[in-house]
């Protein structure tokens, strides 16, 4: 699971509607895997990402490459797009836990696949 996907997920347990994003990563095993730079896609996603949450998540994982705030010229800043690409598309969570900051629900990631199913009392 790539870091970009993590940025698109929130806790969805019944009744858990506030402070449910971003899911806190714990005990994660990361892996870097090279991918072709896709500027069109990055530009499309700039407005869809929660950038602050992304930076905060990265810092907890000791990934310090992203600037604290989104550059004003992000869409055409080659250097920035390259870093963003490496962080959100080339960084994979192979295993670990994603914990809701609000209700503490634990979503497990195994073999790179996140299990976002809810228990029967949570739907």
């Amino acid at each position: 699971m790539r870091l970009i996907t993590h940025n698109m997920l929130q806790c969805h347990v019944k009744g858990c509607n506030a402070n449910n994003f971003p899911l806190e990563l714990q005990e994660v095993v990361l892996e870097q895997e090279e991918a072709e730079l896709n500027e069109d896609f990055l530009r499309n996603m700039l407005g869809k990402l929660e950038y602050e949450a992304l930076v905060a998540t990265c810092l907890k994982l000791d990934i310090n490459d992203l600037p604290a705030t989104l550059p004003a010229d992000a869409a055409y800043n080659d250097e920035f797009l390259q870093i963003l690409h490496r962080v959100i598309l080339e960084t994979h969570i192979k295993s670990g836990k994603m914990i809701c900051p609000n209700c503490q629900h634990i979503y497990n990631v195994r073999d790179g696949i996140p299990n976002m199913l809810l228990a029967e009392h949570e739907v």
Partner: protein, 486 residues
């Protein structure tokens, strides 16, 4: 504007014009044609496009187009065709010196080999002097005789002459051939339709495309092939994980789209964890909801709501909540087709960008189907509705486009959904309501014994006996279900 002759594949006929329209949108090609001149029975359509370059763009990813030809003339006989072609000598000079060849083709009939050279000679007035190169000509000129699809008709009725612009990408069907795919399941969509769906969804570079019933990931592959970035989810994690080295991931490696297939996640689309993005997260949703013939749709919860836990359940091991165990699988209940479709439409309304498309399959019982069966929403416009018929039932590829932002209020509209027995005030049900049960009732997949019994019943007592027999079967099924629940 110059005219071009499109020759479609004589396959999935209802899908051809919608795909052509999608291609024109994707490639930004302005195109006009007379819809009345088009028939599902003929593969030919004459269109007007501003230039040959623009016409060629339509071929970049066309699945249902075989060829596009710059039309130099058409007639009801070879003589008339020749007269028409002679009216535009200004077209010829630029091809006088280039290596070329002529091809003579018949549709729905054969032009004998021995007659071809003579036919080609009749076009010598064009004065082409270039080298004749049968293998790698710079230009290929086509003489086409259309005999129509009726095999009894032995005489061609329309003749065309033109300069070949190029071929569609029908070879992709072979590339994505399911038989050569490393990882497939029993509901994997065939290659041709998966590719057409990617076109219908206007997939292209930069776009984010989602399949909420991802299964073995066919659409993640075809949509990514055309440049989109794709993501999928499924309630059944086993499908996503695959077996050993065969998985969605291995397929994305096989097709060289690994970088653009983001992830596949395990969850129920009724309880989707996507963060709500203002303006919409997805540029398209492309999916084949499980309609319960080979794999029944499931959603989280218990069939009997009174048995559903309201708090964490304890596992057998003392002091541990069952849902925290690593191999916990939450209970699921059947998910009625009409609900699946209504929920899918609402999901699209909430999560698509404006201009984004929803492309999905809807199964219908042919006898009961009416256009009103399609669920609608004020934010979604129907772009096309193409039927693939299987006799008593069909499936329809529905393409919708989000035309305005959701106000947070409007819900999906359609004929009444829900339990047929309960809603007696609304006798009309959607053509896909209870689809699974009715599909099985057709006897398509019933064993031979049952069919035989049904026949015997009919011979003995006519329709009444058949009804009684069906009732008996239903009774048996109910008993089996009750036993299963116990």
């Amino acid at each position: 504007m110059p005219q071009f002759l499109i020759q479609f594949a004589q396959q999935h006929e209802e899908f051809r014009l919608p795909e052509l329209e999608a291609l024109a949108t994707i490639e930004n090609v302005r195109m006009t044609y007379n819809p009345d001149a088009y028939s599902l029975e003929s593969p030919f359509l004459i269109v007007e496009i501003e230039s040959a370059e623009k016409a060629a763009q339509l071929l970049n990813r066309a699945i249902l187009i075989k060829t596009i030809t710059e039309l130099w003339g058409t007639g009801l006989s070879w003589e008339e065709l020749i007269d028409r072609v002679k009216e535009h000598p200004e077209r010829w000079p630029q091809y006088l010196q280039v290596p070329f060849k002529f091809s003579v083709v018949g549709f729905g009939g054969t032009i004998e080999m021995k007659d071809k050279p003579e036919l080609i000679d009749r076009f010598a007035f064009t004065g082409f002097m270039g080298k004749i190169d049968l293998k790698n000509p710079e230009e290929e000129f086509l003489l086409i005789a259309d005999y129509g699809i009726d095999p009894n008709v032995k005489i061609a009725h329309t003749f065309y002459m033109g300069r070949l612009i190029g071929h569609g990408k029908r070879d992709l069907i072979e590339k994505f051939n399911v038989k050569k795919r490393r990882y497939i399941g029993n509901t994997t969509m065939d290659a041709e339709l998966s590719l057409i769906m990617a076109n219908q969804a206007l997939c292209g570079p930069g776009k984010l495309v989602y399949d909420p019933f991802v299964g073995t990931g066919s659409f993640l592959m075809t949509c990514a092939h055309f440049g989109a970035t794709t993501v999928g989810s499924d309630i059944d994690g086993r499908q996503i994980r695959g077996k050993g080295k065969a998985s969605i991931q291995s397929n994305s490696e096989q097709y060289g789209v690994k970088d653009r297939v983001l992830d596949a996640l395990v969850f129920d689309v009724c309880h989707a964890p996507w963060r709500r993005v203002k303006g919409g997260l997805f540029d398209a949703i492309v999916t084949d909801p499980p309609y319960g013939v080979r794999a029944g749709a499931k959603t989280l919860g218990r069939k009997d709501p009174t048995k559903q836990a309201t708090g964490p359940r304890m596992a057998v091991e003392e002091g541990v909540h069952a849902h925290l165990l690593p191999d916990y699988v939450p209970p699921t209940k059947p998910y009625e087709m009409s609900e699946v479709v209504a929920d899918l439409l609402m999901f699209a309304v909430k999560n698509l960008v404006r201009g984004g498309r929803l492309v999905y399959w809807l199964p219908t019982v042919t006898e009961d189907y009416t256009i009103d069966d399609l669920p609608t929403h004020p934010c979604m416009e129907l772009i096309s509705n193409c039927e693939q018929a299987f006799g008593q039932w069909s499936r329809r590829l529905i393409t919708m486009e989000k035309i305005k932002d959701w106000d947070g209020q409007a819900v999906a509209l359609g004929p009444p959904t829900g339990d047929m027995n309960k809603s007696t005030t609304n006798p009309k049900q959607q053509g896909h309501f209870g689809f699974r049960d009715r599909y099985f009732a057709f006897g398509i997949v019933e064993n031979a014994k049952r069919k035989k019994e049904l026949k015997e019943a009919y011979h003995k007592g006519g329709p009444a006996a058949v009804a009684a027999y069906m009732k008996q079967i239903e009774q048996k099924k109910k008993e089996e279900e009750n036993q299963q629940q116990e």
